[in-house]
């Protein structure tokens, strides 16, 4: 990424402003001490203001650049993740809610880490050294003092910081688990109340919350030790520099003076000293972003890859196919379907009808057995909640075959019984649709999906519950349509509609 690291440099450049401010302050106070003119003091004050403005520019710049770096990362991630999320059909794909979490919250967490933590971390190594170098120009002993406090600081951080990091990670895991428990219990409150178990469940939930709180406090004790180490050395470095400079000015050092320090240098060094640990304090402040970002990165990395499409064939052939995912198992299913015929996959909700349909479409790899199926270009799919893109009704119908002519569209629309709906709209097929299909009912949307599959005019038609959400008459009409279409192409439907099952040539019961 091109502008990567610019934010880190901007954070480091903050030191320049700090140095100018310190120099202005030291000069102005020196002028005052020496009884200098107002003009000298004013120029010192002007330098202080300049330093302040430069710091403003650096910090605003660093945060804005940091945001842009995070945005670039997020854009790259989305370009890769969105198609992958859309390609994960069937049980191996994340659930709908989880898809949104991955696509929004996890990317946002990574984005925040790139925007807030990474630049600060980058500057945390160079900025303190830069401060020490600037201090050394005025007093190399003071610079040495600063650097010397760094050694016990690093040792302290290795001990306290390591423990704190583990503690912080554990704490996050505990809090996540507690939230999951509450979400689960709240979702199931109706059944909990039904069994009059609310007291027992509420007591247990309250105990779990208290437990986690108590454990979190214990864990935080450790975590805060590491920030105390940081605070201590930050304060100690200022104190040591102040005492050294004061005694040096007084000529009371317990060792022979190794450098001559004037008031201005001493004050400059003192004012700049707190900047030495500031980058590390910023780093500590952004640690939470790092944690969340890492957890998100791991979750995104754990996302499965889309399965390979099975061998291309002229017709559908399943031999002993078993589709498995944790806690579930479909099959074994065997099926041979030529160029025509209606196959019904039937079974209760949750038995894997849709997943088997996706396996037949070549979108889900079986764990056992062999599948041969048509290439994707020869398959049409009419889903439970058909896709609606924010364009016109006509375009939505033509998603499977953009070049389809109006006649084909009209025929399909009346075949599924949507002609009255189209006629009711003033704009007809040019009526605009938003992606949640505000003015379409569930049954109309389902029939739109079926019409789209017919317009696509493919050799194999897969339909998921084509008659659900429909009144009796409409359902009969769809069943008649499917049986007549089955004379021209191969059709496989997943359904628990007994009338449709009765019309099938072959039934697969799950």
């Amino acid at each position: 990424m091109r502008i990567y690291k610019a934010a880190g440099f901007a954070w480091t450049s903050d030191i320049a402003g700090a140095a100018i401010f310190a120099w202005g302050l030291a000069s102005a106070l020196e002028a005052r001490l020496a009884g200098g003119t107002m003009a000298v003091m004013a120029s010192g004050c002007a330098l202080m203001m300049l330093g302040g403005l430069l710091r403003l520019a650096s910090q605003v710049g660093a945060q804005v650049l940091g945001f842009d770096e995070g945005r670039l990362l997020a854009q790259a991630r989305r370009a890769e993740l969105f198609p992958r999320l859309l390609a994960l059909a069937g049980p191996s794909g994340p659930a709908l809610g989880a898809t949104a979490t991955l696509g929004i919250d996890h990317i946002a967490a990574e984005q925040a880490r790139a925007a807030r933590f990474d630049p600060v971390r980058q500057s945390a190594t160079s900025a303190p050294l830069l401060v020490a170098a600037i201090v050394a120009l005025q007093s190399w002993v003071a610079a040495l003092i600063l650097l010397a406090t760094l050694i016990p600081f690093v040792i302290g951080m290795i001990f306290a910081g390591g423990a704190a990091r583990q503690a912080a990670d554990r704490q996050m895991a505990a809090i996540t688990a507690l939230s999951a428990l509450y979400v689960d219990r709240i979702r199931h409150l109706p059944i909990i109340r039904h069994f009059a178990a609310e007291d027992r469940i509420a007591r247990a939930a309250g105990r779990a919350a208290q437990d986690v709180a108590a454990r979190t406090i214990a864990v935080l004790r450790a975590a805060f030790i590491s920030s105390a180490v940081l605070e201590f050395f930050a304060a100690l470095s200022v104190a040591l520099v102040a005492v050294y400079c004061g005694f040096s000015l007084l000529g009371l050092l317990p060792f022979p003076a190794i450098e001559v320090l004037n008031y201005r240098s001493a004050l400059f060094v003192l004012v700049l000293a707190p900047e030495f640990y500031l980058p590390m304090r910023r780093l500590a402040a952004a640690y939470h972003e790092k944690q969340l970002g890492e957890a998100a990165e791991k979750a995104l990395a754990d996302l499965p890859q889309p399965s390979q499409r099975p061998a291309r064939a002229a017709s559908v052939l399943l031999r002993g196919v078993i589709v498995e995912w944790p806690g579930h198992r479909i099959g074994p299913v065997s099926l041979e379907l030529g160029a025509q015929g209606l196959v019904c996959i039937t079974g209760p909700t949750g038995s894997g009808k849709t997943s088997l349909l996706a396996a037949i479409a070549g979108q889900v790899a079986p764990s056992k057995g062999a599948i041969a199926t048509l290439p994707a270009e020869a398959i049409a799919w009419a889903g439970q909640v058909p896709l609606l893109l924010p364009t016109t009704l006509g375009d939505n119908l033509r998603l499977g075959k953009p070049e389809a002519d109006d006649a084909a569209v009209t025929v399909a629309v009346s075949a599924v019984g949507l002609d009255a709906l189209v006629a009711r709209r003033a704009e007809g097929l040019n009526t605009a649709i938003d992606h949640h299909g505000a003015w379409l009912s569930g049954g109309e949307r389902r029939r739109l999906g079926l019409a789209r599959a017919l317009i696509a005019d493919r050799a194999l038609l897969l339909a998921d519950e084509p008659t659900a959400d429909l009144d009796s008459a409409s359902a009969e009409r769809i069943i008649a349509l499917l049986t007549s279409e089955a004379r021209q192409r191969a059709i496989i439907v997943a359904t628990h509609d007994e009338r449709l099952v009765a019309a099938a040539d072959t039934v697969i019961a799950l």
């Binding site: 302050l25 005052r32 949104a100 007291d199 309250g206 004790r221 001493a266 994707a376």
Partner: protein, 518 residues
């Protein structure tokens, strides 16, 4: 209080450390310039000891502040979670806020977590104000003019930081929230149509739509980031301004001026805590408003009476429309799918507002308190509604004091014992969210076992044999018939399969039950 004191000590400690150091250095320089006698007279021991002492104090105070503010927040929040949950749990399912969707409940948890942030910060505000006052006191040593300019700078910064960012960010924050909600809906909608997207090769087109919406979020967020960054930048420039103004306005000696200037510069940092909390308060206000809906639920007073097994003579009649059924009756609800069978069962279970004319013991169901309904019916709902926990936890939900033997009997009746006994952890097998390791049919049967264990006069079964092969279905129906006979339990069943319907003696068409008035 402890957290506040510690925060104050930490803030003032940091300020005084730098200020005293500046005063000490200047004093030392002055003494050095005035010759050996002045050096001998200059008391360097007290300030140098103070400087080191302050370093330690500041560290200890920060540690205390963090620990105590988190301790208070975490305990308060744990209590709030408990209280909210208890109130929510004791509400009536028929009119309680609907949080059944994962999204709604997750949002509730998120709101509570956002509150935690606020509670952690709260002791910081008075402490920050205290730090600013300490800064003012130090600056006042440099004369009233310096104090006035310092006050002017602080007031200006507070006005700019507490008001402006909030005002400027209202529009982009709303835009970012709207775009995020839209993207979430799109992702869910499009993910539901994955198979269609793959088949028609629409992934590039859909990705472009998603990316465009995500860009809208980023654009709004970028404006927010700039506003936040500008706030931080203003603060650092304000700190320089406060220092410069104090220096120019000072009428005191140079050592005192050095003290005042460094105190002015360092104390401005505390304004950030005030400003940041002010802007966060606005962000969590919406969450708090949502929580208020729950806090408005009646306070929970006494534990609801535990429902134990109901003696047969306490069994009541059930009325479906005009027909009244004596305890022990076995009724099949009939009707096409979508005709409202599930609705009737859930209403009888007290889980939903009845849409039909239903009575218990001759009294309309809608008039009865939930506690009265509960003593009579136990449901195995269509969607099994299993809790995350072990198999035993789920069975224990039915009634307190169920032992392993009772669980085994119920699981045997539900034709699930063999499966559970085969699992290495047996009854302690942990089910993940929504029953994870069990198949759809097995989850259903666990819900049946749970309903049996409640031992209430009426058993409600909604599609009990879905997902079963014929053999298991036959065994389950046989075992249930036996169980109903032994316990004299009444049955109301909805199913589209012949075998379980055979359990019933009488059929009631849902369409024939009059709709409830209103």
């Amino acid at each position: 209080m402890l957290a506040f004191m510690a925060a104050l000590a930490a803030g003032i400690g940091g300020l005084v450390l730098l200020a005293v150091s500046g005063w000490f250095l200047t004093g030392a320089a002055l003494a050095a310039g005035s010759g050996a006698a002045a050096i001998a007279a200059f008391n360097y021991l007290i300030p140098s000891a103070a400087i080191r002492g302050l370093a330690v104090l500041r560290t200890a105070a920060r540690y205390g502040e963090r620990l105590w503010s988190h301790e208070a927040a975490l305990q308060a929040l744990a209590e709030l979670r408990g209280t909210l949950f208890t109130r929510l749990a004791h509400a009536d399912s028929r009119n309680a806020p609907d949080l059944a969707s994962g999204d709604a409940s997750a949002k509730l948890i998120g709101d509570i977590a956002a509150l935690e942030d606020l509670v952690v910060r709260r002791p910081g505000i008075p402490a920050a104000a205290g730090t600013v006052l300490a800064g003012l006191a130090a600056v006042a040593l440099a004369g009233w003019l310096a104090a006035l300019t310092y006050i002017a700078v602080i007031v200006l910064l507070l006005a700019l930081l507490a008001v402006l960012p909030q005002r400027l960010s209202t529009a982009p924050a709303a835009e970012a929230a709207a775009a995020t909600a839209a993207l979430r809906r799109m992702l869910v909608d499009y993910a539901a149509a994955r198979s269609e997207i793959i088949t028609y090769g629409l992934a590039p087109r859909v990705t472009a739509l998603l990316v465009a919406e995500a860009d809208r979020i980023d654009t709004a967020q970028r404006r927010l980031a700039r506003i936040e960054a500008a706030g931080g930048g203003l603060l650092i420039a304000g700190s320089a301004l406060a220092a410069a103004a104090t220096l120019l306005a000072s009428t005191a000696s140079t050592p005192i001026t050095a003290l005042a200037v460094l105190a002015a510069s360092a104390s401005v940092e505390a304004v950030a805590a005030i400003a940041r909390t002010a802007s966060r308060e606005a962000a969590v206000a919406e969450g708090i408003a949502r929580l208020r809906v729950l806090l408005a639920l009646p306070a929970f007073e006494a534990p609801s009476p535990a429902v134990t097994a109901v003696p047969p003579d306490a069994a009541q009649t059930v009325g479906l429309g005009t027909a009244t059924f004596a305890p022990g009756s076995r009724i099949a609800l009939t009707g096409e799918s979508g005709s409202g069978k599930t609705r009737v069962l859930e209403a009888l279970a007290g889980m939903r507002v009845p849409a039909h004319d239903l009575t218990l013991d001759g009294r309309p169901l809608a008039m009865l308190p939930a506690a009265a309904i509960r003593t009579q019916v136990a449901i195995a709902p269509q969607e099994p509604m299993l809790l995350a926990g072990s198999v035993a936890d789920n069975l224990r939900l039915a009634r307190p004091g169920i032992d392993a033997e009772a669980m085994e009997r119920a699981l045997r009746t539900a034709q699930l014992w063999e499966r559970i006994a085969r699992m290495p952890q047996g009854l302690d097998t942990v089910l993940s969210e929504d029953g994870g390791v069990l198949s759809g049919g097995e989850r259903k049967r666990l819900a049946i076992a749970r309903a049996l264990l409640a031992e209430r006069p009426w058993l409600l079964l909604d599609e009990p044999t879905e997902g079963l092969d014929a053999g298991t279905e036959e065994a389950l129906v046989g075992a249930l018939r036996n169980w109903l006979g032994v316990h004299g339990t009444g049955l109301i069943i909805a199913s589209h399969r012949a075998a379980p319907l055979g359990l019933a003696d009488v059929e009631v068409a849902v369409a024939a039950i009059p709709r409830a008035a209103g």
